[in-house]
């Protein structure tokens, strides 16, 4: 109970600070929207050359942009942790009886909340461009986005608190995320890939996330593909939260 109160207090604090600067939410959304508006038509017409219907093309492309938003939106929240650590905010809070777990989860839940709002806005922007998708499918996909961003944000915070340097965090994240992003088939479906690339891609978790979200968008909600996506997202989430909690507990005396 006390933990929940702490999480709520920390969550509200961070949310208030974010909402005071709504510009950042818009800036965070601007890149995925640019991808959608400036690259989406190109992508869909390319896909249509290969015989994919435009409707299908948007159902393929939007989930990819959502995963991209998720990866970059939540993986970089660690920068905020380093700024807080430098400013002494983390130390100040650690000297109070507040739960260490709440310091992590309260902040990460704020990031998740903002990300889900961005994801919803992204889907809405895609509608006039030509997206037609199954409503239950989109809801399942948003659930996956929530789980995934929770996990990635926790990982990012844990990494940030371990390296405590923006100069290390940035390159580390980029090095880790870029191959994962390319292998997930976010930009073009992996079904176009040569066999070896397709196989390598199947060894990375985001491949399943993207595939499942695409199926869901197409209305195939109760399938093995979508189920495995949810399971992968759930595992990433649980493992990352545990790792984050461990790091936050270890860092305090």
């Amino acid at each position: 109970m006390s933990l929940l109160v702490d999480i709520m207090l920390v969550f509200q604090r961070h949310l208030r600070i974010s909402l005071r600067n709504p510009l950042w939410i818009v800036i965070g959304l601007s890149q995925p929207v640019a991808f959608l508006v400036l690259y989406g038509p190109l992508m869909t017409s390319t896909l249509s050359i290969t015989g994919v219907a435009p409707e299908r093309a948007w159902q393929t492309y939007v989930p990819g942009v959502l995963v991209q938003l998720c990866l970059f939106g939540s993986a970089f929240v660690g920068f905020g942790v380093i700024a807080e650590w430098r400013g002494g905010v983390i130390e100040r809070l650690r000297v109070t009886p507040v739960s260490r777990v709440a310091l992590l989860l309260g902040r990460v839940l704020r990031d998740v909340a903002l990300l889900v709002v961005q994801a919803v806005m992204l889907v809405l922007v895609a509608l006039p461009l030509g997206l037609r998708a199954s409503v239950p499918g989109v809801l399942v996909a948003l659930g996956v986005v929530t789980l995934l961003s929770l996990g990635l944000a926790c990982l990012s915070c844990a990494l940030a608190l371990t390296v405590k340097s923006e100069d290390t965090l940035g390159p580390t994240l980029n090095t880790g995320l870029m191959p994962l992003l390319l292998l997930s088939g976010v930009l073009l479906p992996m079904s176009f890939a040569p066999r070896w690339l397709d196989l390598v891609s199947r060894l990375t978790p985001f491949r399943y996330i993207v595939d499942g979200m695409r199926s869901a968008f197409q209305g195939e909600v109760f399938t093995v593909t979508v189920l495995s996506t949810v399971l992968v997202a759930l595992s990433i989430s649980v493992l990352s939260v545990l790792l984050g909690v461990r790091t936050y507990l270890r860092q305090s005396a």
Partner: protein, 337 residues
Amino acid sequence: MSIIEANELTRTFRSGRQSVEAVRGVNLRVEAGEIVGFLGPNGAGKTTTLRMLTTLLRPTSGTARIAGADLATAPREVRRRIGYVAQYGGTDPNALVEEELFLQARLYRIPVAPARRRVADLLERLDLGGLGKRRVGSLSGGQRRRLDIALGLVHDPQVVFLDEPTAGLDPHSRNNLWEHTRRLREDLGTTVFLTTHYLDEADALCDRISVIDHGRIVAEDTPANLKRQLASDVLTVEVVGDPAAGQRLLAELPGVRHAAVTSTGGIQVTLADAEQGITDVITALSGAGIGVRALQLARASLDDVFLSLTGRELRDDPQGRHSSIPTTEGADHVPAR
């Protein structure tokens, strides 16, 4: 029972294969209601000790009880009873002043209504009235520092730890902050444990001072006692008549550590304690028929104490403030040139 009681606290840091003993057996006793200054040169173990006492860093060995709670077995209880004001404040520039205070109060589980009253109280008390709705980032340096302190006081802690409370503040804000610190003790009986780089601050504010160097406490006493034991007052007397005769006479007086004739024909007398010594000097001189034209007294400062304890200055002082105070060595060398 002392409110802060540390026994043989040590902390070893490992970096690669090397291990550095930052703190090597610190013993501390602070009584309730005291204002104690914790001084030491950079790297002496000051911050490490403070971080251990405030539960931010686990000691490698040793024990401590803070406000009756054991540091190792009940850190959460320690946190409930202490306030800590770090050097870098720890407020978010985009948060509102009252938001930060209210959050802090809620983290200590003060119920909502009393927490609101408490925030209003603290704003008033620390001269932050009317600033509640301002962003932290828009406050002046002095205001922000007072907010930091208010955050440390939200739950009426028995002990407050202040890390370099006045670093970077202008003289006016410094004096103001000293006033607040004194009032804290007078009005609420709060114990204050502070680190500082400013010896005049320690002198003006603290009942007692602990000096740490190379990870150990090297001195612990009242500022007055430390100065009496470890530094001298220097009195320069300009006389009508023969300074050499006066110098011989004064050198024999009890309480005079050293007497020398300066290049300008004055007598420089090093006294253990000027308050008693100065009358003796004047009486002796006038008894011998030597007239006193002028007197100049340089009181011992904690800077001298610090230098004699650690062989180092507390900080690199660009103004060379304390080098202008004459020393006995200086006086010795003057006639030789």
